[in-house]
Amino acid sequence: MLTRRGWAMAVAGLILAGLGLINWLDGFAYLGFCLLGWLGVNWVRMRFATASLARDISLTRLVRDRGGVCRTLRDGQALTISCAVINRGRFTLPLVRLEDRPPADMVWTNRPIQKTGWFSSRLVRDPWPAADGTIPPGGQLEVLWRGRLASPGVARFEGARLTVIDPQGLVGHSVFIRSPVEMLVLPDPGAVEDPAGGGKRSNNLLPPGQHRLRRPGGSSEILDVRDYVPGDSPRHIAWKLSARRDRIIVRDFESEVPVRCQLVVDGTRPLRKWHPGGTRLASLATAAAGVLEHSLEQRDPVGLVVAEEARVFIRQPAGGSRHRLRVLQTLAESCASPGVSPPREEDPRVLFPQALRVAREIYPDIARSPWAAMPWRWILWGPPRPGFSRYGGIGGWIYRHRVYTWLVPPILMVTSYVVASGWMCLAVPLSGPALWLAVRLASFFPQWQLRDRKVLATVLAAREAGNPALLDALLEDDTLLATRLRAFLAEHREDRNLVAPPLAALRVQSAARAERLALGLLSAVSRARDPELHVLFSDTEDLGARLDRLERAVRVSRSRRHEVMVVLAPKVMDSWSWGADTRTPAGSEEGRPWYKRSILRAAGLWINRKFGLRKGAMEDPAKTGAPPKPEGDNAVPVENEALAELRRRLGRLGVPVVVGKDSAAEAQRLVARLRRCGARAGAR
């Protein structure tokens, strides 16, 4: 591929050779052909040096935290990423730029500030960490950068892009070295509340020896002394101290009976919806990790239940660092999973910009190859196939029904024969080409989109071992293409800001979130041995449907003398104020390619953004100072009503509801208070 300087040399050579031809000047032509020949020599040399680049280059990646190289990461942890390539070929790569592709949720912390000026080069919108240098045979080039992950889940490092140009900058070649590495990003519990504040001073569980716990505590550690309260066991009276103080003093022993805690996390799809600060499930996982850490500090066994639409993940309550790591891994995997969704009838064009960007970044050898796209001659002269898409507006409708244009000339011919019109006779031979041209022009954009569709279908078929039948089906079936594109983006962890798929027309099972949460709670109850603590992590959005099931499950739990607590995710407004993620959601006007944008709509959006004419439009919170309303004007009142309803119904059962940005800390405080004040099942 010629660089701009290479093209300049080619044009200068052609000018000189052309001047020589026009003016009969041998010298000019000779000089021009020398320049063209020099360009050709460099092109051939560079192409041979980089023909086997993808095979000759090997990539190694190391992720380090403060303790050294690590395989499991933590949310918010400062990381140093090292990406090195080694040249195993025979040619020296004279000028090389190595760019490391950061994962989707990773923030490049030491990103340099881009300068803008009169003569500055074209700025890249989202540059990757990079290093320049020369790689001799056997040598290596390394790029070091620092970053942190913005939310729990999975960090996927796809690989690195290597750009090689010759020493004169005439010819360049770029290749993406695919070396995917996935690392779990565990939720960061943050600051754990003071464990001493939650010390088990008195445990209102059944006394030791009278419960079904297999390993009762020894109660040998004296925690405190206090005055006698009627009801205290005479065994705990400190007789010497009582004689010395002249009143009855009772010893408080530390209860070593573990308080089992089960975390029931709602993992349904609405919680996976991407907001600028991250998903609500990520914030819930962080809160659950906080409660987990807090309980494990007390040596209490903690279990986990993640309730999704189609499955429930269960971790039995246990203690220890290994179990802690497993629970955190389950939380992270749950955050990273895109959720199970059946194929749905959907317009795949909404996913095109995001998928094309990912395909061109990760699979440039396919997506940018000349054979992957639809040939231009098909766009201009009309492909015999493919072309089925039920979307595309009026242009798409015309394109789908283009075959009917062939009926017009015979109809005109018959009509002209019947009415004996000379003008109509003249129109018969002209109607075919005229209609063909009109159909071509009217359906130009749907045909253009076929190019993008073909590129994406080829990439998807290449990942399926080059199945040509799949390629053919993807070009014809919208639903199949949309489903595969969603899976493709989810695999590359680029499905964060996609538009949600449409609701299914038919459901074989209820997807009501309260029902799934109730199922998770009941599964926790069924595994409980002693009266224990169940903490539910969910969200009020769409929780109203089938709330009676959740209420019934809570009743069951309370009747078994368990304690239940509900932790709700922060509201949308809080989520918006968390991070400064300004990525445009796919499917919006700004995320579309230019040929799909409506000029009037884009102008209206620009005017609204510029002058703030319409209330509730997309306003910049940094400028207005007011929190935006991303989900419409009535989103927050509806949410408040749902919260009040939930509090009212669960409050009757004695279940506290915690909500807000600091829900993790508040939940920890509540757990500690529950332990301290003895508001356990035995106190009822």
Partner: protein, 309 residues
Amino acid sequence: MSQPSTDRHWKQAPGEVPGRGIHLADFVPVLVALGVLFFGLAQICQTGWMLFPLVILAVGTALAWRGTPTVFLFSLPLILLLDRSGIGPEEWFASLLEGRNPFFFRRGGGGGPDLDTTNPVSLVEWLVTAGGSIACHALACRHIAMRSSPFQTGQLVAGGGGAGPAWWGMLLPFAIVVTVLGVMIGWVFTAMLLENNTFEPRMVQLIRWINVVGGGLVMGLLVRVMLGLVEGRAMDPTAAAGFLAHASWAEMGREFNKTDRWLMWWRLGRRRQAETRWRRLLLGVKPGPAQSSPAGLAEIGKGQKGNRS
């Protein structure tokens, strides 16, 4: 390992040139190439226009301006044309000051000698000019790349950027000489071949042009075939699978075309009709145990309609 030290890499400001000062030793090859080009241009030009590309290259390289090689290349045809007008820069500026038309040139009225394939001295003059031009361009590019990163994709500093291999400096003059000599041999050969026939001078140029362009295309095809073999052997498995999928699909499309397409469209149309019937059925019936919320049902219907075009 050509990676700079980590501290240096992070501490440097974006766009800042790494700590490599201007050494005279780095500039010496450029000066030598400028000398060669000066010698060549002095033989084939008669006016002072020949100094302009030399000045542009010297000043631009000293200032490490990235556009210098391109401006230098485009100045070559310009000054050769101006020189052919026979009016030097001093005379041109004088005519400008006197109010005469400064854009009037006597075409072919002056200038140095053209390339004469029968005169060895002329061949050497043009050889030196062509070699000097290419050498000046190449060394200026290399010198500028050493002082500022040639990459346009980011703003990070170049970590030892431009530090080419040691043999590159020795190979460059040899490659340039081979290139200009090869083109000259072809030139002389075609001139000898065409002189045996009675062609007009204009036809000679045209025939040479066609031969050179056609020969270049043939050579390009041969190189492309060899490159294809090398690239095919080193191709990534995923890319190879994509290529095979495309090739099989293109072949298959010739066999299964119209009828199968229309059958597939018909099947999809039937499916759509069935889905519409389900939707109407759902909207018409009372909410059952699976869907207890009428608002949810209305939303389903709205969502499905919203996705229709």
